[in-house]
């Protein structure tokens, strides 16, 4: 069990999908203006990513590998991810229309979120077992959500402070993201051996 936990921690903190591997930056910068939207975006991405990495593993080991079609991996993964995202959008619109209206434009963005495809491909490359790749996907998504929420809170604070006009908005956002990844370097080389 603790081995599974360490995998989660490793995926979430040590090589955090956003701040260390620099994947999924467009929703990270785009949706992080308000804390609650960032949280719901993070949860939606977690839902999609976990499903996608599971589906990816099944696809890889049940279809692509036996038929020797590894070169189709990226294409088929994107197809699956797009389907999962479309399914998530329907679920969200059914569950809460205001949330759907708020997230509106950004839901399809998850399809193009390179973190989702990246993590699915990574877990295939590292030949994880099914449970392992599920854990890796979930861990990375947790890391993504954590950093999204922390970054959203930081930007909400910046929104009410007097940032010089030259830096207000996106520039200060990028600077803070950079400084945040500076902090995350502290987790570099963290291994619980």
């Amino acid at each position: 069990m603790s081995e599974f936990l360490l995998l989660l921690l490793g995926a979430a903190l040590v090589n955090n999908v956003v701040l260390v591997q620099f994947l999924g930056l467009c929703p990270f910068m785009g949706v992080s203006n308000k804390l609650d939207t960032a949280l719901s975006m993070g949860l939606a991405t977690t839902f999609v990513l976990t499903l996608a990495s599971a589906a990816g593993w099944v696809l890889e080991h049940a279809v692509l590998a036996p038929l020797g079609l590894e070169f189709l991996r990226i294409l088929s993964f994107i197809l699956v991810i797009a389907a999962v995202v479309q399914f998530t959008e329907m679920v969200i619109r059914r569950l809460s229309t205001p949330l759907h209206r708020v997230l509106g434009i950004f839901l399809p963005l998850i399809t193009t979120n390179c973190a989702v495809l990246g993590v699915a491909l990574l877990s295939v490359q590292e030949h994880h077992g099914f449970l392992h790749s599920l854990g890796f996907g979930f861990g990375s998504a947790l890391g993504f959500t954590l950093v999204m929420v922390v970054f959203a809170a930081l930007r909400e604070r910046l929104a009410v402070s007097q940032v010089p006009a030259a830096f207000a908005g996106a520039p200060i956002g990028f600077i803070v993201a950079g400084l945040l990844s500076l902090g995350f370097l502290g987790f570099a080389g963290l291994d619980f051996a």
Partner: protein, 497 residues
């Protein structure tokens, strides 16, 4: 179930230097009648009073010159006998210096009371009778809130009041008017307490005094008989102990739910000066025509506690106290924590002014506001458990909804946060501005709602008129057709005949 430790206190609060030394040992001295008295028609919360007299009328002391107008209002009485010179706008005791309809009275020096009924020492008066006399006397909350006292008594009928608190805490620095009142007239205050308890039917009556006024406590306890079942309670000195919500929380441990009043938790709070005014109103039928005002601050030559006829101008008080020894940095009506700066000394003393304080620059310790360094001292000081720095940063950024969401409505504007802020930020002014802007926004919303309804109704009326006209036209056409038809039928009849 919330269990509040009985610490006779509340969260947060600050300890400003009391600076009462200069005036707390000076006996109350009457202010000689000034040349003119300026009585505004609005000295209370609620609708302004309607003047009953006209320019040129002669009035006697205690005669009603303006009657209360509507449910929440208070009458205004002549503070002395004399002639009404004019009823015209004069500067109100308010930072904006905007005018307010004011009765200008020229005293004739006789100071002759209007004939009053015999004093009535009956022990048990009915609740309605007490409320009527208090209303007739125009008594309002003298602690500074100036809410009409009679309306509060009627409020007491709709809720079961089991505790009456007389607020003698006087936690504002510099002020000593309540302190002197408790030391010199404890009997009148206690009798006022009995009358109020009689009106409210409260089981417990507490006169609450901060423990930095031991002489006042002693004077009250000395005059209290065991039969009275009235206790004089000492509470730790802390600002804002005088705030109604916090004195109830400190003394009874009950916390008024947000948006409700003291009566909702069965407690009624009145200032000690209000109790004395109730005593005079009910026992001697004397209306509220004068009040005790502390004149203090570093810029006043000879600080004093004065019994001032309502309507006297601040300039008269300052002149009586030897004038301002230097130009005051800030001239305040009320205490330095919640009092308001007045634009000039030509404003009248009204029912709610408990102090005229002329502060020197050194005493204000004011400095240009620096940046907020988020030190959190305002959060620790806030007695209402809010986060002033978050509210202020949102207001500065123009996000009024964000400030409202952080608890702007629960702020009692006591000033504890701005007092401790190391960056000297005018936090209270941020909150006052935001509340005003939100009030404007609500009013504009209601105004638009009204406009939509009116436009809607006008469209419906026009459509109805159009329909009615169309029907009438159609009906007339039908009749004409019928008539023509009968005529042609008639003609055919003739041709056949």
């Amino acid at each position: 179930m919330w269990s509040f430790p009985r610490t006779l206190s509340f969260r947060g609060g600050v300890h400003p230097q009391p600076r009462k030394q200069t005036t707390r040992n000076l006996a109350i001295e009457p202010l000689p009648l000034p040349r003119r008295l300026y009585l505004p028609v609005q000295q209370h919360i609620g609708a302004p009073a309607r003047p009953l007299v006209a320019a040129g009328d002669r009035v006697l002391k205690g005669q009603v010159v303006a009657a209360g107008d509507g449910a929440v209002s208070a009458a205004v009485h002549a503070s002395t006998s004399g002639q009404v010179l004019a009823i015209e706008p004069h500067p109100a005791p308010h930072p904006s210096g905007l005018p307010l309809l004011t009765l200008v009275i020229a005293p004739d020096g006789a100071d002759r009371w209007v004939d009053l009924p015999e004093p009535d020492h009956a022990l048990s008066l009915s609740r309605e009778e007490i409320a009527r006399r208090v209303a007739a006397a125009g008594v309002v909350g003298m602690g500074g809130a100036t809410f009409p006292a009679a309306v509060k008594l009627n409020l007491g009928t709709r809720h079961a009041i089991d505790t009456l608190i007389l607020n003698g805490s006087e936690c504002e620095p510099y002020l000593s008017c309540d302190d002197r009142l408790m030391r010199e007239h404890p009997g009148e205050i206690i009798d006022g307490a009995r009358i109020l308890r009689q009106a409210l039917g409260a089981e417990r009556t507490l006169i609450v005094v901060e423990d930095n006024k031991p002489e006042a406590l002693a004077a009250l306890r000395e005059r209290l008989y065991v039969a009275d079942a009235i206790q004089a309670v000492a509470v730790p000195t802390r600002y804002p102990m005088g705030s109604e919500r916090h004195i109830i929380r400190a003394v009874t441990g009950r916390e008024i739910p947000a948006g409700q009043l003291g009566a909702d938790v069965g407690v009624m709070v009145h200032n000690v000066a209000t109790a004395r005014a109730v005593h005079r109103a009910v026992r001697h039928h004397q209306p509220l025509v004068s009040r005790i005002v502390t004149v203090g601050g570093g810029a006043v030559a000879r600080p004093a506690n004065l019994e001032v006829p309502l309507g006297a101008r601040v300039q008269d008080l300052l002149d009586h106290c030897g004038g301002a020894s230097m130009a005051p940095a800030r001239l305040l009506m009320g205490g330095p924590m919640m009092g308001q700066v007045i634009p000039h000394a030509r404003v009248p003393v009204v029912k709610g002014s408990n102090g005229v304080i002329a502060l020197t620059a050194a005493e204000t310790r004011s400095a240009d506001p620096g940046p907020c360094i988020r030190c959190g001292r305002c959060v620790a000081a806030c007695p209402s458990g809010l986060t002033p720095l978050e509210m202020a940063s949102r207001i500065r950024a123009g996000d009024l909804d964000g400030a409202a969401e952080r608890g702007l409505a629960d702020c009692v504007a006591c000033g504890a946060c701005a007092y401790v802020c190391p960056a000297h930020l005018p936090l209270v002014q941020y909150f006052q501005h935001a509340r005003g802007a939100l009030a404007d926004r609500r009013e504009q919303g209601q105004h638009q709602e009204r406009i939509r309804r009116l436009a809607q109704r006008r469209r419906e009326r026009q459509e109805a008129e159009a329909r009615a006209k169309a029907e009438a036209a159609a009906q007339r056409k039908a009749e004409r057709a019928a008539r023509r038809q009968r005529k042609t039928a008639g003609k055919e009849h003739e041709t056949e005949a």
